[in-house]
Amino acid sequence: MRANNSGCFPSKTGRVACLLTSLAIFSPSYGQKQNNSVSAWEKDLPESIGDLQAIQNQIQSKLQMVRNTVVSVEAEDGAGSGVLVSADGLILTAAHVIGESGRKMDVVFPNGYVAEALSLGGSELSDAGMLKIIEPGQWDYAPIALANKSGVGDWCFSLGHPSGYNEKRGSVLRVGRVIHKKEETIQTDCRLLGGDSGGPLFSIDGEVIGIHSRISQSPEDNFHTSIESFLSNWEFFLNEELHTYVAMQKGGFLGVLCEEFQDGLQVVEVVPETPAEDAGIRRGDLFRKLDGIPLDTREKLSILVSSKPPGSFVVIDYLRDGKEISVRIKLGERFVKE
């Protein structure tokens, strides 16, 4: 008997979802594209049955190319999904599917073939996780989208093994659009269920743009870890490092809240009485690098800072009023809020 997957989407999803969706405030920013020469899926809305047919044809052709790359990921206590992204068996999944690094898990292919895999790293912050198939082989794999290629309004499709692997059913397709994208999270109206966790979200071009993470109470807005989170921290995840909340508690502490911008991280808040405040960091500063490493995601900043012990030094390059400033900061200890 297949393991029941009910463990895979954490039960507090409703509450998390509430927190996150409250930020998705309606704003009619989606552009007015009405050029007849664009593909059906690039229009604001499909305008004819012909457009629907074109979207269908596009999805079906890409579906054929990627369906075999979507696997079920199983352990004693539950099952999720994953997607192969390299010929030597690297699998992207969710952090809450692998749980920890160095864990042996079973990977079930659409045809029922079972391969053993080892969990690598990931991040509990974004829910990104990696696995690697142990046995050598040449596996079918799906292409990954470049960073910032996907955006709000894009058509997309989800695959996964909701409620666990089912040989006769196969992986399950859902179609939708990107309805929100911010930091390490993509939100779509593709409908998801437990067991989908870790499965891929594809662009209409058949490239992985996200990994299923959490469901919301409403079936029509669900959460995916963005591919950018993986791309930004690829080596860290590959090296079997798992960015956990425990590590964040124990590691070094800076004391800023940031938001991602095109060329860095903008400081939106400096916490009083922290190393950041002591070093003169102000709201509005744009962090560019930490110890020479470009900062493209706030998750990366979190990983870099908390992987150093309190008391160690980091050098931060930032922009203020167009001027490049470099500052050496002694990391502190995270204080626990009441």
């Binding site: 009910s6 895979c8 989407f9 954490p10 507090k12 999803t13 998390v16 927190l19 930020l23 998705a24 405030i25 309606f26 704003s27 009619p28 989606y30 809305l45 305008e47 049955i49 629907l52 047919q53 979207i55 269908q56 999805i59 079906q60 369906r67 539950g78 749980g99 509990e124 829910d127 709000v152 309004g153 909701p162 409620s163 006769k168 196969g170 399950v172 397709l173 859902r174 179609v175 939708g176 659009r177 990107v178 309805i179 929100h180 911010k182 109206d189 409908r191 269920l193 437990g194 067991g195 989908d196 079936p219 909340y245 964040m248 809240l257 939106v268 808040e269 979190s302 995270r334 809020k337």
Partner: protein, 335 residues
């Protein structure tokens, strides 16, 4: 347990460690979403035609199911187990008409209803031929006149038969060391069939329907061939006394799914969602009351009858291929 902890810490993390944006983030406006308010307009005039061929079925003024018009004289096809007791339909124009059941097929879970005080002509659906292959990724549409809406989705998995779930007692059983001692009840799920029949932990089942039972597997096999609602008689040894218990078998869904978080996240699902000769699986966001209505392709052809809401990502549709032999036989009475 670990997962719950992770998520809690995710919550804490979002709030206290990272913080959220101070600016409202850009979201896709509802009208551009799949199944947003304007999406159905893509079908043009076909939208009205679709809505006209589907009706809502009501029991005591409560919407319980949908049905499709299969004959201009006001004959409707619906899901039998969901439309039980329906007395009235509402058309896409909001008019109501009394209906009466004419035929029923328990195996396919189909029922034929007739509008008894009918205006002259109804728009019957056009079935898509028996040989259609509904491929994953094909658009599918469901129409609900009562809710004045169309829902769009795709065929999402391989078409296949769905096996019988069987009836359940809602107890966990264990074989004793000596088979003469019967099969021991080690857990009784509260409010499930066994509990209601008075079965208790430590009871030892000696016979089921008069037959001696020696293995758990044997009991399971017997139950598999029965349906929810069927009665089984158990001869039970309780504290060295033999007693007879009658258990009315329950639904697997009711007994066990209470403990299945996926279903907790899914909302109400169809009572009967098993034992179909063939289904199309699709991802439409449908309430269970939409069952019995039609599934259409983008050209407005009817691909089948929505037969079960299984969970929040899964609906089953009984395809034309399964429906037409039964329907054509039924319609012989109405030239």
């Amino acid at each position: 347990m670990k997962l719950v902890f992770l998520l809690l810490s995710f919550l804490i993390g979002r709030v206290s460690l990272v913080g959220e944006s101070l600016k409202p983030a850009d979201a896709l406006a509802p009208e551009y979403r799949l199944n947003g308010p304007s999406f159905g307009e893509v079908l043009g005039t076909a939208k009205e035609h679709l809505l006209q061929s589907v009706v809502g079925l009501f029991r005591n003024e409560k919407l319980i199911a949908h049905g499709v018009v299969v004959h201009p004289q006001g004959l409707l096809l619906s899901k039998a187990s969901s439309s039980v007791g329906a007395g009235m339909i509402q058309s896409s124009q909001g008019q109501t008409f009394p209906i009466r059941i004419r035929k029923r097929d328990e195996i396919k879970d189909l029922a034929l209803w007739q509008i008894t005080s009918s205006p002259p002509l109804w728009r019957a659906v056009t079935w898509k031929g028996e040989h259609n292959q509904t491929q994953s990724g094909s658009w599918v549409i469901s129409a609900s006149p009562s809710l004045e809406e169309l829902k769009f989705g795709v065929v999402s998995a391989t078409s296949r038969p769905i096996g019988r779930e069987g009836g359940v007692m809602g107890v966990l059983l264990e074989e004793s060391n000596s088979s003469d001692l019967g099969i021991e009840v080690v857990e009784v799920l509260p409010q499930a069939a066994g509990d209601r029949a008075g079965l208790r932990v430590m009871d030892r089942i000696l016979r089921m329907d008069g037959r001696p039972v020696k293995t758990v597997e044997y009991i399971n096999r017997m139950l598999q061939n029965k349906d929810p609602g069927d009665l089984v008689t158990l001869l039970v040894n309780r504290k060295d006394k033999e007693i007879l218990l009658r258990v009315t078998l329950g639904h697997r869904a009711v007994a066990f799914d209470l403990f299945n978080r996926n279903l907790l996240m899914s909302g109400p699902v169809s009572k009967r969602k098993d034992n179909f000769p063939l289904i199309i699986q699709q991802d439409l966001p449908l309430q269970k009351e939409i069952m019995g209505g039609g599934l259409f392709d983008i050209h407005g052809h009817c691909l089948g009858i929505n037969i079960a809401r299984v969970d929040r990502v899964t609906n089953y549709t009984l395809p034309t291929k399964v429906i037409l032999p039964t329907l054509n036989m039924w319609l012989k009475d109405w030239p």
